[in-house]
């Protein structure tokens, strides 16, 4: 993935050249930083999609163990 430099309105603009196509990635000079930038948004999107798909999955029954745990947790919280 190569980087091509060009001047647009006195500002240096960087392009990525690869796979026969030239891209400009939001003014970011390095493909790996651009990848990080897009992966941040993609990872957040993954979280959103996962949350929506599994919104009601796995059930919300409360086990007796969880109830016992909660009672003990409350007792300890009162200590603090």
């Amino acid at each position: 993935m190569g980087v091509v430099e060009a001047k647009v309105n006195n500002t240096t603009v960087l392009y990525f050249q690869g796979m026969g196509v030239t891209f400009m990635y939001l003014g970011i000079a390095d493909f790996w930083v651009f990848l990080a930038y897009t992966l941040c948004v993609s990872a957040a999107l993954l979280c959103v999609i996962y949350g929506l798909i599994n919104w009601n999955r796995n059930g919300d029954e409360v086990s007796p163990e969880s109830v016992a745990w909660a009672k003990e947790e409350d007792m300890r919280s009162q200590d603090l």
């Binding site: 000079a29 409360v62 163990e65 409350d74």
Partner: protein, 547 residues
């Protein structure tokens, strides 16, 4: 004057709202039992915001935002890990099993979880000691990050700012913030969300939008190369040169140390247990992903973009314009280039970030000092004695954290990103020590008690030795290597291929070693009794494994 009045008013409003929410939570006794038994649900946004507020601190915003001011947008890889590892993996693959096992074993703290899972008092004692001895380092940099902002915003000395801020946090903790009332934490998360969104929008807007801002930052690359080219800097929108000092600092310490380290954070692991069911964890992933994107994504992007602002104003890059004090980059940026009201909302944002994180940390340190330490010795304390020891533990760790925050800037030379490194050291140490046995213990019955103990010990010892004798940023300050061998790092500038040993973070060495030790010893030592394993993993899991 007008600015100071506004700051005073919104600070008071914030403190009042936080106090009121804490009081409401206390009055309405929305306790764990209420959530589990009375059918009340914690709204997923509340759960995610409270987790996020504990996760993201002033360290992430001021410390790592400042580090991005020096290293550039390459630090955004940490945001990728924060979201993918810290939220997605943590909630989906760690959280659900932690919650299930925690409830089955009726454990309430991280040391208790390890101790019961491996039926080992030593692991309980050891993990409590690691928390008590090393977490104050993390807490101190959280306080430091906020104090640096107060110093610049109010124009007072760092020492006075630290005292002022520590007093607010201590008051919050003493007045009940320690209970970690979920709604107060979530409100703090909400404030952080608003503050950071305004900051991101304005920072891009004033530079002509996303692309325009990045292009201006890319155009500054020659300045970065001129100043730090020898260390591997290639501009603020580029990765540092592969294998260079800067590359190792960014990739091994800042990105991996914190990105991976978050999985074995004692104060975050226990939060999963407070959730009623897996449904809430699924839903919290949605909110958490967006929250972290707006927190660290904003801090790291704005930190890097601040260079454009500083160069346009003074001709100097952010690092030089702030006297090589990395932690002052974000505060100075806010003061010089943002309207006063944005700067003041940001101040409240930082208070919220520091309070929510610090209160969680003090909770963990206090209970480690009280219940965990004494339980490990097989002593059951009476109710009153336990409360006293816990409170004493909180007081001692609070004082230790404040003292460290005073001392650290004296010992570390300027320009070393103390806040970011302090965070990375603690998280890396936790990961190297606990990650294999914690995650392994959730997923497999095969890890033996001996393997868990020696895995933890090997990861901890190797990491400490690496910090003391090899990783130069720390070893040169800790002076042990110099006293024994007459040089700051045993490896100096030695390289093996692209590996520059003195820059490789302790996590890179400690975690693989603890993982290998845990696996190898599990193959050759005696397994825990089947009945104990069934109790830990549950029968459903047992059936799955034996199929």
């Amino acid at each position: 004057m007008e600015g100071t009045l506004f700051l005073f008013i919104i600070t008071m409003v914030y403190l009042f709202v936080t106090g009121y929410l804490g009081y409401l939570g206390y009055r309405n006794t929305k306790t764990a039992t209420d959530y589990m038994v009375a059918g009340r649900n914690v709204h997923p946004a509340v759960m995610a915001l409270s987790y996020g507020a504990a996760f993201i601190s002033t360290s992430a915003i001021v410390g790592f935002g400042g580090a991005a001011g020096l290293f550039g947008m390459s630090v955004l890889w940490l945001t990728v890990l924060n979201i993918f590892v810290g939220i997605f993996i943590a909630f989906v693959f760690i959280g659900k099993r932690t919650r299930a096992m925690g409830h089955r074993l009726n454990v309430h703290t991280f040391p208790e979880l390890l101790s019961r899972r491996y039926d080992s008092r030593f692991l309980g004692l050891f993990s409590a000691l690691v928390i008590i001895l090393f977490m104050p380092l993390y807490t101190s940099v959280v306080l430091m990050g906020a104090a640096k902002f107060v110093e610049v915003r109010l124009g007072i000395s760092y020492e006075a700012a630290l005292l002022f801020f520590s007093a607010i946090v201590a008051l919050y903790v003493i007045m009940g913030g320690l209970k970690g009332v979920m709604y107060a934490d979530a409100a703090q998360g909400g404030i952080m969300l608003v503050g950071m969104t305004i900051l991101l929008f304005l920072s891009y807007y004033q530079l002509g939008g996303i692309r325009g801002a990045h292009e201006q930052l890319s155009a500054l690359a020659p300045k970065a190369v001129e100043l730090f080219g020898a260390a591997g800097h290639r501009g603020w929108t580029s990765m540092p040169e592969f294998g260079s000092k800067f590359w190792w600092s960014v990739v091994s310490t800042l990105v991996m140390g914190v990105g991976i380290g978050v999985l074995a954070q004692p104060q975050l692991a226990v939060r999963f247990m407070t959730v009623k069911s897996n449904v809430e964890l699924n839903r919290a992933v949605l909110v958490g992903g967006i929250f972290i994107l707006l927190m660290t994504g904003t801090a790291f992007t704005v930190g890097a973009l601040s260079n454009v602002y500083f160069v346009n104003e003074s001709g100097q890059i952010a690092f030089l314009a702030t006297g090589k004090d990395i932690e002052q980059i974000i505060p100075e940026y806010m003061k010089r280039f943002m309207p006063f009201w944005v700067s003041d909302i940001f101040f409240v944002t930082l208070m919220a970030a520091a309070m929510s994180t610090a209160s969680g940390q003090f909770h963990v340190m206090g209970t480690s000092a009280g219940r965990d330490l004494f339980n490990a010795f097989g002593k059951k304390l009476s109710g009153n004695a336990n409360i006293l020891i816990t409170r004493l533990g909180i007081l001692v760790t609070l004082i230790a954290s404040v003292l460290l925050a005073y001392i650290l800037p004296v010992f570390f030379e300027s320009g070393i990103a103390i806040v970011a490194r302090g965070t990375a050291i603690f998280m890396g140490l936790c990961a190297a020590t606990f990650l294999p046995l914690f995650v392994g213990g959730l997923y497999t019955k095969r890890i033996t008690r001996t393997a868990a103990v020696w895995g933890a010990l090997s990861g901890f010892i190797v990491s400490l030795v690496w910090l003391l004798f090899v990783h130069e940023k720390e070893s040169s300050v800790l002076l042990v290597c110099n006293a024994l061998f007459g040089r700051p790092s045993l490896f100096g500038d030695a390289r093996t291929g692209f590996i520059l040993w003195s820059e490789v973070d302790a996590l890179f060495i400690g975690l693989p070693i603890s993982t290998v030790v845990t696996i190898l010893l599990s193959c050759i030592t005696k397994a825990l009794p089947q009945s104990h394993l069934d109790q830990c993993m549950g029968m459903k899991n047992n059936r799955l494994l034996t199929k």
